[in-house]
């Protein structure tokens, strides 16, 4: 760990402080920074001992209710965990695969799934024995849902799914240890005026007959977890593998994205803090023209800018996580008290979009700055910056939602629906 410490834990609960302590202790033993760099170089699949280790540590899907194998954590609790996960793994393979994806989507799958899916997939995933995630993007469209072509047709008490999903996290891991995906498909005609309607979500096991994984991508970063896809040819799933209501898949999917994006924001704050701490150690020691680098305003002011943005982002994530807690609390999903204010889902979505379009970029820009501060050393894999830079870039370009599409959500909620560009 870096000598410089920038953590401010005064507003954390005692339990949250202990979460942080335990995760840091675990990482020191199991996932020091040099292993993160090595994992990223060696590529997927994610090491099994770490999947199991993270599960034993209890960092995956903590927000799932206790009676269903989770811990009933609040989103604020889980965001604190996500922050530390980003801190210990700035390559964000852990944060992307096992924190944001499995927790965000695992919670949402559990919320809408039947008992069989919960027993066969969600609970084992919490234990680290299976992988569950999201498969919504298609070759023809991600943010643009009007181009979604995957379909499901009813046949007796089953649905038959066809089409291709792509840019999916963890396909190789799911193939290896088992698991499945939240898959969004059309169950009715595409309506030109409302292309997001008539979509339905299903849970599709990775070993379903007719499902063929495609070749994994050779990504720029976060290589310790795979990115792949699959083709569905007459894949049959039982009727009760439908997640939520028929025709409301888009809305349910947005709920899953909301959950995952909060954790991505929290992880990105953790990544930023780690990068600033590692960089601070260097710029305070390394002397140039008779002074440490940190003494020069050109570097110090950039450092200060990033630090300030990080603290602002931390507050943004915390506030939003609390809003999400209110949302579920009012539905009776989590036991909490003392919160009476009601937020509309679109209001919460605005805050979540602010997180998604800003905080991963902050982490990426901090890595970029740090490489400049360290020069050739920062560009080498001796330090974490280049690994982090390539990893967090995946959040910037689109993992769990592209940045520009978030701006449309924020614009819609601030300027009004009349100004939505693509309508």
């Amino acid at each position: 760990m870096a000598k410089t410490k920038l953590s401010d834990d005064r507003d954390l609960t005692e339990e949250q402080r202990l979460f942080r302590e335990s995760i840091l202790d675990w990482a020191e033993r199991n996932m020091p920074l040099d292993r993160v760099i090595k994992m990223n170089r060696e590529g997927h699949p994610y090491p099994k001992d770490l999947i199991k280790g993270l599960a034993d540590l209890g960092v995956i899907m903590g927000t799932v209710p206790e009676e269903r194998g989770g811990m009933g954590l609040t989103w604020k609790d889980q965001a604190v965990i996500a922050d530390v996960i980003g801190y210990i793994d700035p390559s964000i393979a852990t944060a992307a695969g096992f924190m944001a994806v499995e927790t965000g989507w695992g919670f949402t799958i559990d919320r809408y799934a039947n008992e069989e899916i919960r027993e066969k997939y969600v609970k084992p995933a919490i234990r680290g024995d299976k992988f569950i995630g999201i498969a919504t993007t298609e070759p023809g469209g991600g943010s643009d849902v009007s181009n979604f072509k995957c379909t499901a047709e009813k046949d007796g008490d089953e649905w038959i799914l066809n089409g291709e999903k792509t840019f999916i996290s963890g396909v190789e891991e799911a193939k290896e240890i088992g698991g499945g995906y939240w898959v969004n498909v059309r169950t009715g005609p595409k309506l030109p005026e409302a292309p997001h309607k008539n979509m339905t979500a299903f849970f599709v096991p990775i070993d379903s007959e007719g499902l063929t994984p495609t070749e994994p991508y050779d990504d720029a970063g976060r290589n310790a977890i795979s990115t792949g896809g699959f083709i569905m040819e007459d894949v049959r799933v039982p009727d009760d593998y439908m997640l939520g209501e028929k025709g409301k898949g888009f809305y349910h999917t947005m709920e899953g994205f909301d959950n995952a994006r909060i954790l991505i924001g929290a992880s990105s704050v953790g990544v930023t803090r780690r990068l600033l701490e590692e960089a601070a150690d260097y710029i305070k020691e390394r002397e140039v023209f008779g002074n440490p680098l940190a003494k020069y305003e050109a570097i110090q002011f950039e450092f200060v800018e990033r630090y300030t943005e990080m603290e602002a982002s931390r507050l943004l994530v915390e506030k939003t996580a609390e809003m999400q807690d209110v949302r579920y609390d009012e539905e009776g999903w989590l036991e909490r008290s003392g919160k009476a204010q009601t937020y509309k889902p679109t209001e919460i979505a605005k805050w979540i979009s602010m997180i998604k379009c800003k905080v991963p970029h902050l982490a990426k820009d901090t890595a970029d700055d740090a490489m400049h501060w360290l020069g050739a050393a920062g560009y080498s894999s001796e330090y974490i910056f280049e690994t982090a830079w390539k990893g967090v870039m995946s959040y910037c370009v689109g993992a769990e939602g592209g940045a520009n599409i978030q701006k449309i959500v924020i614009g819609r909620e601030t300027l009004g629906r009349d100004y939505v560009p693509y309508k």
Partner: protein, 264 residues
């Protein structure tokens, strides 16, 4: 069976710096942690609980300011069943005598106890006195420098104890106090998130001096037998020398150095 584990929250020694002018420890901004010796003692108690068929209750106890609750929370997450924090302004400034008296009174108040676990010493004071003094106040045998517990049978405990010459096995009747000495390969248990959340629901109490009984003058600074006149850091060591030659040459070089410096 019932075990008590006495613990202390101490400044994280890896983060501590000494004020060069006053010679005192800079505590501001230094995180507090569970004393590593006590953590070892607690791990020993939890290991026994997990191995023995008999039902064992572990009670973690600490004397300190309200924030010492954090250390007890960690104990509950690691495996203690109940925690008691002895906290009262009256307890402030206690030396080892007053501290051990306070702890002993609290332990008596807990009822029948079979074993009292303490760390051999605390990393902030390093006196190693509190444990033995607690045993004296309670009138029970004390086993110090205990590195492991071999067995607990027929109201007897057999421990492995470190000595200047090596190790010995030592037997004592219950109840006893054991002062635990971490072994070099000791890997403390890391509580997971589930255990931390469960700890929230375990019994936790705060006791003041009224609860323990006796006069307030027996506790804290007033009840202390010793007085700290001054604290200071030892003068910094001079620059050492590093000899990296093969053994024979290195010995000769060292001998020359010792003679030159008048060490030999």
């Amino acid at each position: 069976m019932r075990f008590v584990v006495c613990v202390k929250q101490v400044p994280d020694t890896t983060e501590v710096e000494v004020d060069p002018e006053t010679g005192t420890i800079i505590r501001e901004g230094v995180p507090s942690v569970l004393n590593a010796f006590d953590e070892f003692a607690l791990n020993q108690a939890v290991d026994i609980k997990e191995k023995m068929e008999e039902n064992i209750e572990i009670i973690a106890i600490s004397m300190g300011p309200p924030q010492a609750k954090e250390a007890l929370n960690k104990c509950l997450a690691i495996g203690a069943d109940k925690a008691v924090l002895l906290t009262d302004k009256v307890f402030a400034g206690a030396d080892t005598w007053a501290t051990s008296l306070t702890l002993a009174r609290a332990i008596k108040k807990l009822g029948k106890i079979d074993l009292v676990f303490v760390g051999q010493e605390a990393s902030d004071g390093n006196t190693a006195q509190v444990g033995p003094e607690v045993a004296a106040h309670l009138g029970i045998p004390q086993l110090t420098f205990v590195t492991s517990i071999e067995s607990i049978e027929d109201q007897n405990i057999i421990c492995k104890k470190e000595t200047d010459e090596g190790f010995i096995k030592i037997e004592s009747p219950l109840p006893s106090l054991i002062a635990c000495m971490p072994t070099p390969g000791f890997v403390p248990k890391i509580p997971n998130i589930r255990e931390i959340m469960k700890a929230k629901r375990k019994p936790y109490e705060e006791w003041d001096h009224k609860k323990l009984g006796g006069d307030s003058s027996e506790y804290g600074l007033e009840g202390s037998e010793s007085v700290v006149i001054k604290t200071y850091s030892p003068p910094p060591k001079g620059k050492g020398i590093k000899v990296e030659d093969p053994p024979e040459k290195a010995v000769n070089k060292l001998m020359e150095y010792f003679e030159k410096e008048g060490i030999l």
